[in-house]
Symmetry: C2
Subunit: 132 residues, 2 copies
């Protein structure tokens, strides 16, 4: 794994921890100013303010038991732009009737801006959005 | 569809036409300087020179009958960075024994650099790379 891939993998691990611990001010620090987060097919949050509100609503939906994590990952590196493919898991023991699948194939785009890697696109649905 | 999405869709259509017509000098103009093209799982071409050689080899492999096209597309826009999900078709009438699937769910990352949208990541395998 390249140094860039290692750096981004660690950032995603830290972002997942911040989401689980509901530290939303920390969560948005991982995103670019005009990042997009896919909430559900056709529903998107744009920018840090909307993304912050979305994660607060997601935490509520999962009864404050959301635990995201990543399995196998692939990093496609193009200079300051990296496409990450990831086997994403969502564990939520207090939300037995969740409409969300517990395993997905996610796609993230990371950008290096002023020496810092930030998430520009966070799409946990991956190419499944094409089916909906 | 947004103006950005429309612009990128048209660029992909023109890139597909250039690939089909084996205009490789035109093909590489659609990519960033340090773009990555996934050739097969674990095999990548980096930068315009490698990408040009890869498309020449691909044309040879398909007996000069390769016709790529796109079906349903989703555009996830984050300012100067766009993740494109696309139902991609590969038609190659002169290559009946191709090892390549004729329909895929592709992922492209486009970047706006100095006012021009260019492809930074071209991964026709989408999240299927996680399975291999």
């Amino acid at each position: 794994m390249s140094e860039t891939a290692h750096t981004i993998q660690e950032l995603i691990r830290r972002a997942d921890a911040a989401i689980q611990e509901e530290r939303f001010d920390d969560v948005v620090k991982f995103y670019t100013e005009d990042a997009v987060l896919v909430l559900s097919p056709g529903r998107e949050a744009h920018g840090k303010a909307e993304i912050r509100r979305a994660f607060a609503a997601i935490a509520e939906y999962f009864n404050h038991s959301l635990k995201p994590s990543q399995g196998n990952m692939v990093f496609l590196e193009a200079g300051d732009t990296v496409l990450v493919l990831s086997q994403s898991f969502v564990d939520a023991p207090e939300k037995g009737d969740s409409a969300y699948p517990s395993e997905r194939r996610a796609t993230f785009v990371y950008r290096n801006i002023d020496g810092q890697w930030l998430c520009a696109v966070d799409n946990s649905y991956g190419t499944a959005l094409l089916d909906i």
